[in-house]
């Protein structure tokens, strides 16, 4: 049992915190709305190795653990970074895990920073990948199409950008022909493993979202006075924030535990990843609501930053599904697949 980060992990955190503090300030986040993509920030991140780091060394990456990536994801969430870090990391790791010549051919330009490849986190229906993360800005998308993992080229010709709550670069992507990466049962297995990673990293990202919202709320509650006292001295304000702080600590630990379990290929990886996603997204939703509400009418103004995080706490995770869906996934992992029942 050890709850401490390693020295290397502390360094990782401080270098990304400093990078994002400079290149993903609230002003920059706003400037990138509603598209949700800042090309300069993305270039900087890619040059720093944000995608490469997560790929195994024998595939040309730096071999960072999923636990390491949760630390980065949390900072991405904290800064509401307009950059598709999580989905590109997971897509690259998936290409590396597939390991077929087609997959490795696709991975090359990703590691070289020439291609942005994302992952459609929901299975395809009627030849359309709906609300594909980074679908609005990617060059190609890994999709599970029936029993095949395919790499679908994406361009203005086959994507329809979707304006959305989170100002995320989402698009509905019509499937063009694209090479099959792998097919058969292994395809679904690899896709599911990628979803485990995406759920874990998204959990970490929205923990970051919750943490920054909490910080904004606490700072406001110390400054703002009503009825002759700082509003933070009223239990109606302070107690929800205390609960949120507690839940956020728990959500962070759970996301880290899920990553640690996936890293060691433990039995509970899938279960913990889905639990972490469910708990973190519920926590981020509630925290950002409380934080916004703490600001009173100001929280409701676009001009205040807290709404940026309120929107992302909902929009980022929900491109996959809600907490109920995550609980069902965790239940299937914990109790074995369900044989009855309609909820998938």
């Amino acid at each position: 049992m050890d709850f401490a980060l390693s020295d290397e992990q502390h360094e990782l955190v401080s270098s990304f915190a400093s990078l994002l503090g400079k290149a993903s300030s609230p002003e920059q986040v706003r400037a990138a709305e509603p598209g949700g993509f800042d090309a300069d920030l993305w270039r900087t991140l890619v040059e720093t190795g944000v995608v490469t780091m997560g790929v195994a060394e024998q595939r040309g990456g730096w071999g960072a653990s999923l636990l390491d990536l949760t630390l980065v994801a949390e900072l991405v969430g904290r800064s509401a970074a307009p950059a598709p870090v999580v989905e590109t990391q997971v897509a690259a790791r998936l290409l590396a895990a597939v390991g077929s010549p087609v997959a490795l051919d696709a991975l090359g330009p990703v590691l070289a920073g020439e291609q942005l490849i994302s992952l459609a986190v929901r299975p395809v229906h009627a030849a359309v990948a709906k609300l594909a993360p980074a679908g609005a800005v990617c060059d190609a998308l890994v999709v599970l199409d029936g029993d095949a993992l395919r790499l679908v080229p994406v361009s203005e010709a086959n994507r329809t950008t979707v304006a959305n709550l989170a100002s995320a670069p989402l698009a509905d992507v019509r499937l063009e022909n694209g090479p099959v990466l792998v097919e058969g049962p292994v395809a679904a297995r690899l896709f599911d493993a990628a979803i485990d990673e995406w759920l874990t990293l998204t959990a970490a990202a929205v923990v970051g979202t919750g943490l920054i919202a909490l910080d904004l709320a606490c700072a406001y509650a110390v400054e703002r006075k009503a009825f002759g006292a700082p509003i933070g001295s009223f239990q109606a304000i302070s107690h929800p924030l205390a609960d949120d702080a507690t839940n956020l600590d728990g959500a962070r630990l759970l996301a880290q535990e899920a990553a640690w379990e996936l890293d060691r290929a433990g039995d509970r990886g899938r279960e913990l990843a889905a639990m972490a996603f469910a708990f973190a997204s519920a926590t981020a939703e509630r925290t950002t609501y409380d934080a916004l509400h703490t600001h009173g009418g100001y929280g409701f103004m676009l001009e205040y930053d807290v709404q940026l995080h309120w929107r992302r706490a909902r929009g980022w995770p929900r491109v996959w599904g809600d907490t109920d869906a995550a609980h069902r996934r965790a239940a299937d992992a914990r109790y074995g697949g369900s044989r009855r029942g309609t909820a998938g």
Partner: protein, 384 residues
């Protein structure tokens, strides 16, 4: 007890719906949403023509509407997101003028509110006075024949398209809290008035309004000097019976329509046990919200003052809107993220919009925390 509208009220509801079909066109709806407006002059004029602005007052050619009819009218307007907000704030002020205002204000302003020619925004909260309205700092300094006003008001919604602002100002510079305040009607055409746009998460525009050496003749004063707080309380009494639950009803309608349409696998979501259960939970909240609101409005109709019941209905309805919009968004799933403005949005993006809209409801017209304080004191008998 009787939980149904009487037959006349039900006929009236049909009449209101026909009116809305005619006057609240899809084009007008889109325009209002895009511009973030909650007022439209043409719509207000059409309301005025039927005496539906000051419905509770009889005037030549029109009988007064009873409490049930007024409730139905407001429910229908809220349900359809009709541009009604400035009309309702204007009436709040018109009532105050009728109760405490001068003859001149009564003859000059009130009739124009009634017809929809004139609209009045509320200028109460300030940068340092939100829930704590009595912390007001805007000053009105008495001068020969009138007043000079200096200060700033937050959330003066519609000040950019109204003719007047109902202003709460401190006239006694040595006073604190509730004492020494006076209410005025400030023409937005005055020199020294400025409205700065503030866009909210729901897309609605509100304003910060500035008052700089603004000279106002004394005839624009509404309350007696120093009696502003009482006139403000009078204006706010109406806020409690606002039919918030109709907003939740709108989103539930959209979600139930979504549920009835076949999904990608060919079956309607509503046939799934979990979907039905989650929808019905929201429907239950809606039922309760509606009952609490109608009780408040009924109490006013029979002459009782809903001291705790008003706060209860405001609290329950708006918290139900927050819960319900979160729940329905989660239920509809990823597609609920599509913005109201996006062509691919589910059922016009009503649910996505309600989610953003919900945030304001637990804040304005008295935050949930303020309502709980009132209920704790007036209903539970707990000390301050």
């Amino acid at each position: 007890m009787d939980f149904e509208w009487d037959a006349e009220t039900q006929r009236f509801r049909e009449e209101v719906r026909r009116f809305l079909d005619l006057h609240l066109t899809p084009e007008l709806e889109d325009q209002l949403y895009e511009e973030g407006l909650t007022h439209d002059e043409g719509f207000a004029a059409a309301l005025g023509e039927r005496n539906w602005i000051a419905g509770e007052w009889a005037r030549e050619g029109f009988e007064a509407l009873d409490g049930e009819a007024m409730q139905v009218l407001e429910e229908e307007f809220a349900r359809t997101e009709a541009p009604y907000y400035a009309v309702s704030t204007s009436m709040m002020v018109a009532k105050v003028i009728r109760a405490v205002g001068s003859e001149w204000l009564n003859s000059e302003i009130v009739p124009k509110v009634v017809t929809g020619e004139v609209a009045i925004a509320l200028g109460m909260s300030e940068p340092e006075a939100g829930s704590d309205v009595a912390a007001v700092q805007t000053r009105a300094r008495e001068v020969e024949g009138g007043w000079v006003i200096d200060g700033q008001k937050m959330f003066t919604t519609n000040a950019n398209i109204c003719e007047f602002v109902f202003l709460l100002a401190r006239t006694d510079p040595d006073s604190v809290r509730h004492r020494g305040l006076t209410t005025f009607l400030v023409p937005v055409a005055s020199d020294g008035f400025e409205a700065q746009a503030v866009v909210t998460v729901s897309g609605e525009r509100t304003n910060i309004t500035y008052y700089s050496d603004l000279v106002l003749e004394d005839r624009w004063r509404i309350s007696e000097v120093g009696a502003g707080w009482q006139s403000l309380m009078m204006a706010l009494q109406d806020e409690h019976s606002a039919p918030f639950c109709a907003h939740l009803g709108r989103a539930l309608d959209a979600a139930e329509q979504w549920g009835a349409d076949p999904g990608p696998d060919g079956t309607a979501p509503i046939e799934r046990a979990d979907v039905r259960q989650r929808l019905v939970k929201v429907a239950t909240d809606l039922e309760v919200a509606r009952l609490l609101e109608r009780r408040t409005s009924w109490m006013e109709t029979v002459g009782e003052v809903p001291v705790a019941e008003g706060p209860m209905s405001k609290l329950f309805s708006t918290e139900a809107i927050v819960r319900g919009s979160e729940e329905l968004t989660a239920l509809v799933g990823p597609d609920a993220l599509r913005s109201r403005s996006d062509p691919s949005a589910v059922h016009g993006g009503r649910i996505e919009h309600l989610l953003r809209f919900s945030l304001g409801t637990t804040i304005y017209a008295g935050t949930s925390e303020v309502q709980r304080n009132i209920i704790a004191q007036r209903r539970c008998g707990l000390p301050r």
